[in-house]
């Protein structure tokens, strides 16, 4: 079981790194899906089967599909000049060394101090549901209102605007050029 945790954790971290350093948006999204799936494995190992299922269904199934939908719609694939400069080694080597020192201190503290194990028992989905709809009932309702606001906001923002942005600006003339 321990080796499964370590393997899933390293797959998650590695695929996240690949996701943020990839140039192609679709490839990065596929790496991100792999990262979410391995985090779901970690959830299952930790004794949270409901959360593991939710991670696969909602995160990897719904949210990532939204991302892929938008990327396919925009038909992007080219990278920018500034990012190329920022991904060169001399830009990030000194902050990386400083951050590595802090990371070493963190790992040392974890090694030295008392460690305790966790996840010895599975928390069943029934308990989660009972807690969700008794203790946290008002929060569930607030989350419903938040989702409603998200729907309304996405609909309002996602609408195609009218062609004339401002009454003094022509349709697609010189003002677009100087912005881009």
């Amino acid at each position: 079981m321990n080796s499964i945790f370590y393997i899933a954790a390293s797959v998650a971290v590695l695929s996240s790194v690949m996701a943020i350093t990839n140039r192609n948006a679709i490839h990065a999204l596929l790496y991100l899906i792999i990262s979410l799936l391995s985090v779901s494995v970690v959830f299952y190992i930790l004794g949270a089967p409901l959360i593991a299922a939710l991670e696969v269904i909602v995160y990897a199934g719904a949210i990532m599909v939204l991302f892929i939908f938008v990327v396919m719609m925009l038909n992007i694939g080219m990278e920018e000049e500034i990012e190329k400069g920022w991904l060169t080694p001399k830009m990030w080597i000194v902050p990386a060394i400083l951050a590595a020192i802090l990371m070493g201190i963190f790992i040392y503290v974890l090694k030295v101090f008392h460690t305790e194990t966790t996840g010895t028992e599975i928390i069943s989905p029934k308990d989660v549901g009972v807690s969700l709809f008794t203790t946290y009932l008002i929060a569930v309702e607030i989350a419903g209102v938040l989702l409603l606001a998200g729907i309304v906001g996405a609909y309002h923002l996602g609408r195609q605007q009218k062609k004339v942005i401002h009454r003094f600006l022509v349709k697609d003339g010189s003002d677009k050029k100087e912005v881009t």
Binding site: M1, N2, F5, A12, V13, S16, V17, A19, I20, A28, L32, S35, V39, V42, F43, I45, L46, G47, A48, I51, V58, Y59, A62, I63, L66, F67, V70, M73, L74, I76, E80, I82, E83, W86, L87, W92, L110, F113, T115, E116, T117, T118, G119, T120, I122, I123, V128, S131, A139, A143, L146, L147, A149, G153, A154, L157, Q161, L169, K176, V179
Partner: protein, 102 residues
């Protein structure tokens, strides 16, 4: 079930969060910035589940569900904003938005 120490699990969540933070700071493509935010939210939710599993309480998993809700709402609004940005500026570079006119 698993006997990995809690510190290693927190370390794993911290590494995931760090990855998302670095991606948010380094990338200028706004879709990648939104993806990095997703990674960070996911790692924060992972810490909740780890803590809930450690003390054998259901509260951590309930918090995960709420974070999932917030993340879904944020992604839908953010992607709609990205679509609007692409229609207006014909680019996904976040630096194109630094001029606060038009």
């Amino acid at each position: 079930m698993v006997t990995v120490s809690m510190e290693m699990q927190i370390l794993f969540a911290g590494l995931l969060f760090l990855t998302g933070l670095v991606g948010f700071l380094v990338r200028r493509n706004i879709i990648f910035m939104l993806m990095s935010i997703e990674i960070m939210l996911n790692s924060a939710a992972l810490v909740f589940v780890i803590a809930g599993s450690h003390w054998m309480q259901t509260d951590g998993q309930v918090m995960f569900i709420f974070i999932l809700t917030v993340s879904a709402a944020e992604v839908s609004v953010g992607l709609a904003l990205i679509l609007q940005m692409y229609h207006h500026f014909k680019t996904l570079d976040a630096d194109a938005l630094k001029k606060l006119r038009d």
